[in-house]
């Protein structure tokens, strides 16, 4: 009897933890097979490289967004931080700073932006949606002011390697993303940080009562988000060889979409970085497949919306079943 209960508990645990990712992975394989039948170029290595390159930014930002949403928060300002930090980096390069120092300044800008978001959200206790939608406008406006709304061109040749180069056949942007995914997964599953993010999402008061410095951890997740937004800014600038003040516009929406599709609960307290990785690849592949088949871009948006609704219904199925 006790053994039966144990098996049931382990099954429940497995279902809750891994089933959404397994479903997503199966969906990824099915899509891969179907699209490869409709387009002969889809499975060519250069196209696969293209998909990995296109998906890299969404997945990269998805890692920090997964942690932010898991902690019960939201960061709508990532696209604006990416633009602001890349513009400051471009201005630093043009002012004669070395590439390394300019990249450091870029990451510093991302860190400060994240720190501002985190401080207002945790120490002044303002809703993350309100704070980050405000800073979305502020950081974007600062970017436009600094550049007089014109793109900045002209970077050292070696800078383009980050966005356009490849190593052992894989795009460097995707290798950076994979590194961040591994770091994020270890952080989430192997350190207390991940446990605290889950606790923030569903029982913040419990952490306070065991004496955890709640504000410090809360700020750190927005700082992490700001740093990854700055890294995104570096990759985007390197890819386009231009620091565009409008770069990363609406990027946050795509990132939030893949995070939710990956099985992270929008209410917080449940997350999967591997799910975010699979969802990012699936989205990238579907977009690429639709383009390959000559389908107009507005149908791509329709598809993204439909998949998202389907994913949310799937993740809420337990509650819907209980309700009925």
């Amino acid at each position: 009897m006790k053994c039966d209960l144990q098996i049931k508990a382990v099954n429940n645990h497995f279902k809750k933890k891994y089933l959404p990712q397994i479903i997503l992975f199966v969906l990824l394989i099915i899509s891969l097979v179907v699209i490869s039948f409709t387009s002969p170029y889809f499975l060519k290595w250069y196209n696969i490289k293209n998909i990995l390159d296109q998906s890299a930014i969404n997945i990269l930002l998805g890692v920090s967004m997964t942690l932010v949403i898991c902690s019960g928060g939201l960061d709508l300002s990532v696209g604006s931080i990416a633009a602001l930090s890349s513009v400051v980096m471009a201005l630093a390069i043009h002012s004669g700073f070395s590439l390394e120092i300019s990249i450091f300044i870029c990451i510093l800008v991302g860190t400060i932006c994240g720190l501002i978001n985190g401080y207002i959200i945790s120490c002044i206790n303002i809703n993350p949606f309100i704070v980050t939608i405000s800073t979305l406008w502020i950081y974007r406006a600062l970017t436009l002011v600094l550049t007089n709304s014109s793109p900045i061109y002209g970077f050292p040749n070696e800078f383009s390697v980050i966005g356009s180069g490849s190593f052992m056949g894989l795009p460097i942007s995707f290798i950076i993303t994979l590194g961040v995914v591994i770091f994020g997964t270890v952080l989430f599953h192997k350190t207390k940080y991940g446990k605290y993010m889950i606790a923030f999402g569903c029982a913040e008061a419990s952490l306070k009562r065991v004496g955890v410095s709640v504000n410090l951890y809360k700020i750190s997740v927005y700082v992490f988000s700001g740093i990854l937004a700055a890294v995104t800014g570096i990759i985007l600038t390197s890819k386009l060889n231009c620091a565009d003040p409008l770069a990363g516009y609406m990027l946050e929406m795509e990132v939030i979409s893949i995070v939710i599709l990956g099985g992270t609960s929008i209410k917080g307290g449940r997350a999967s970085i591997v799910g975010t990785l699979i969802a990012g690849l699936l989205m990238g592949m579907l977009r690429n497949g639709l383009i390959m088949n000559g389908i107009a871009s507005y149908y791509q948006q329709l598809l993204v919306g439909l998949i998202l609704i389907f994913a949310v219904i799937l993740s809420e199925r337990d509650k819907l079943c209980k309700g009925s």
């Binding site: 429940n12 029982a203 009562r209 004496g211």
Partner: protein, 247 residues
């Protein structure tokens, strides 16, 4: 129960502006004793417990735990002194497993950052076994457990935090008869381990089943105290409801 005083409260008062929450509380509690605080809403039970758990700083008075005077009033320093609290809502994280909940805030780590999952699981298993708490799988999320099992996990966590004096705030609120019995059995077993238990409860009848001593609070003061075998339910209810009955 021994003669060692583990908790001594002298002239303890707490005011919120001009409003008196508790005034001039004096008491001594012994090692392994199970003590219940009963009283109507607004009697000051929760304020007293919040001071003891470090959530509030007293306006005046002194608290000594194991002979040491408390200077800092915050949850962490009170836990360090050996007082842990199991709140009415249990303060558990439903989406985390049992082991993570027991170790929340006190995780075992190697190389500074990495959790020692295996060691934590073994310690949790041993702790739950010692307390006779039956849970099918430690992998289960706390949200999937019954009320009694959740209370067990919360008590196990409090003991793991080093609690030698345990405050239980309404330990059987919203529980069925069977689950309440399990919890009271667990509380009795804590006393055998020489853990002192302070219970705050509205349920006088259930308190009688488990406590050695009952303190009756009214309008911020302790108005009476009894050993449970020297009194009965009606006497305590009469004291609590005295003035209402007179009306």
């Amino acid at each position: 129960m021994s003669d060692e005083v583990v908790l001594k409260i002298s002239h303890l008062s707490k005011y919120f502006g001009n409003i008196k929450a508790i005034e001039n509380i004096n008491l001594e509690i012994f090692k392994g004793e199970i003590v219940a605080f009963v009283g109507d809403n607004g009697a000051g039970k929760s304020t007293l417990m919040k001071i003891l758990s470090g959530e509030y700083r007293p306006s005046s008075g002194e608290i000594e735990i194991f002979g040491e005077k408390v200077v800092k009033f915050n949850p962490k320093s009170l836990i360090k002194k050996g007082i842990t609290t199991v709140y009415q809502n249990l303060a558990l994280v439903d989406n985390l497993d049992i082991v993570s909940n027991i170790f929340l805030g006190y995780e075992k780590r190697k190389f500074m950052f990495f959790l020692q999952h295996r060691e934590m699981k073994m310690t949790a298993e041993k702790l739950l076994k010692n307390l006779n708490i039956n849970i099918p799988s430690l992998e289960s999320e706390v949200g999937e457990l019954s009320g009694g099992q959740r209370q067990g996990v919360a008590i196990a966590r409090a003991i793991h935090q080093g609690g030698r004096i345990l405050i239980l705030d309404e330990p059987t609120a919203a529980m069925g008869i069977k689950e309440s019995r399990e919890v009271y059995k667990l509380i009795k077993s804590l006393s055998k381990e020489e853990i002192t238990v302070l219970i705050v409860s509205h349920n006088i009848q259930q308190v009688f089943d488990v406590a050695d001593k009952v303190y009756i609070m009214k309008r911020g003061n302790i108005v009476n105290q009894f050993k449970t075998h020297d009194t009965n339910y009606n006497e305590i209810a009469d004291i609590i409801l005295g003035e209402y009955a007179a009306c």
